[in-house]
Each structure stands twice: as structure tokens, then as C-alpha cells.
């Protein structure tokens, strides 16, 4: 199982839905997709992790970097996390206090 990404737009928000696993092998692909979106001027980002079965610190590193770049561009990053297993790594690292996490994509878009 690798990582599949699908991007759609609602207004000025770009929503990236991830399916699969985010780890040392697949995290660069997520990084590249998000970098491209910011470079195109999309700095209000929702990353939907509800289809992600595994996320490690390399994935967290990508999210922290994207958070920084989005904010520098005047935007924001919100996450959708529906699984306790995925939420746990945010809680362990304290990143749940830095990156807003929502239960649904609609809530994340509305912010």
C-alpha cells in the first residue's frame, strides 16, 4: 500500500485527500504535492487524513513544513483526522496543539 493523493478545490481552499500510508518512502510525494499547491498560490489547505492507515514522524515533518509555508503565504493548514491511531502521533508530539485537527472535511474547510 503506497500513498494516493487526490486534490480538489472549494472556493479558495485546496483539499488534499490522502489514501494509504505516509512514511519515509511516501512522505516526499506528499511534500511535492503540497509544495506545488503553495507555489501555485493555494495557501489555504486542508489535508484529509481519514484514509491514511499509517503516519510517522517523516509525515509529521512534511506537515510542519507545509504549516510554516502556508502561514508565511498568509494562509493556513487544517487537518482531517478520524482515526485514533493517527491522532495518537499528533498527541504524542504535541502537534495537535499547533495544527488544527477536525473530524470532517467540511469542518476543516469552514475552519
Amino acid at each position: 500500500m503506497e500513498l494516493e493523493l487526490a486534490t480538489r478545490h472549494e472556493g479558495d481552499v485546496a483539499i488534499v485527500s490522502a489514501q494509504g500510508e505516509v512514511d519515509v518512502f511516501t512522505a516526499p510525494g506528499l511534500d511535492a504535492e503540497l509544495d506545488a499547491l503553495i507555489a501555485e498560490g493555494h495557501c489555504r489547505l486542508v489535508i484529509d487524513l481519514s484514509g491514511v492507515a499509517f503516519l510517522d514522524s517523516t509525515g509529521l515533518g512534511v506537515l510542519v513544513k507545509v504549516l510554516k509555508h502556508a502561514r508565511e503565504a498568509g494562509g493556513w493548514l487544517h487537518l482531517v483526522v478520524t482515526s485514533d491511531r493517527i491522532r495518537k502521533i499528533f498527541e504524542i508530539t504535541g502537534l495537535d496543539a499547533s495544527i488544527p485537527i477536525f473530524d470532517t472535511a467540511q469542518d476543516a474547510i469552514a475552519g
Binding site: D23, V24, F25, F54, S57, K88, T93
Partner: protein
């Protein structure tokens, strides 16, 4: 005591294979399901860290994973060729995750490289490991 050894080249695409093997071994020896996710994440972090360290150091040596269960403890040892003093470039994030998940986590010199040893009790009830 059951033991399995897995050797992988220091390639990112091999880390998932090592996670799957370790998780399967943990299930087979009866580790409680609530611990399986912890083991998957902690072992994945350690192996990925070892692979990245060896890549940065330019070391082609395989990363060796030893999995042992003695009915009470499930132990994973990850051996890498980089010196224990070789610095991580993630600010220690991977190791902080591992230390939050493993009941025991030790980093020991091993030859010219190092070994990270992770331990969990097999039973759900904490056995008071010292």
C-alpha cells in the same frame, strides 16, 4: 524463545516490509492488540531512522532487525552501521516518538555501529519491567 531476523538494504521502500514482518511477529506471539499499533509505529520509526542515517552517512550496509519473544517480553533490536554519535537531522522527533511508545528503549554501541533495543510486555497487564 522464538527469534526471527530480517535484513533490509538501507532503502526507504524497504521500511514498510520490515514494519509488516515485525507486526506479524508481534501478533503471532500474542501481543495484545492495543499494543500492536504502538509496536508498528515505534519499530517503523527506528528502522526508518536507521535507513536515513545510513543514507546520509553514505553507508550501504544492510539494516538488521532481530525480533525475539520469550512469552513474556517482545523485543526488537535494530542494528545499523552509523556511529551512535552521528546526529539525527529531524531534531530528535523520531526518537521522541519511540520513547513515548516503547516500554524500554536503549541505544547501545554495536561494533562500529549501534543497536536500538525496544521491549514490550506480551500481556496487556504491565509486568513492571525494570
Amino acid at each position: 524463545m522464538a527469534t526471527a531476523t530480517l535484513t533490509i538494504p538501507p532503502q526507504a521502500e524497504q521500511v514498510r516490509t520490515a514494519r509488516l514482518v515485525t507486526t506479524a511477529a508481534a501478533r503471532r506471539c500474542g501481543v495484545s492488540e492495543d499494543r500492536i499499533d504502538e509496536i508498528r509505529l515505534a519499530v517503523g520509526e527506528v528502522i526508518a531512522r536507521s535507513v536515513l542515517r545510513q543514507q546520509r552517512a553514505g553507508l550501504p550496509n544492510p539494516v538488521v532487525i532481530d525480533i525475539t519473544d520469550d512469552n513474556e517480553l517482545f523485543t526488537v533490536r535494530v542494528q545499523e552501521a552509523t556511529d551512535p554519535g552521528f546526529t539525527d537531522d529531524d531534531g530528535g522527533l523520531a526518537l521522541s516518538v519511540v520513547r513515548a511508545l516503547a516500554f524500554e528503549c536503549d541505544i547501545l554501541p554495536a561494533g562500529s555501529g549501534c543497536e536500538i533495543r525496544l521491549v514490550w510486555p506480551v500481556a496487556s497487564e504491565f509486568l513492571g519491567i525494570e
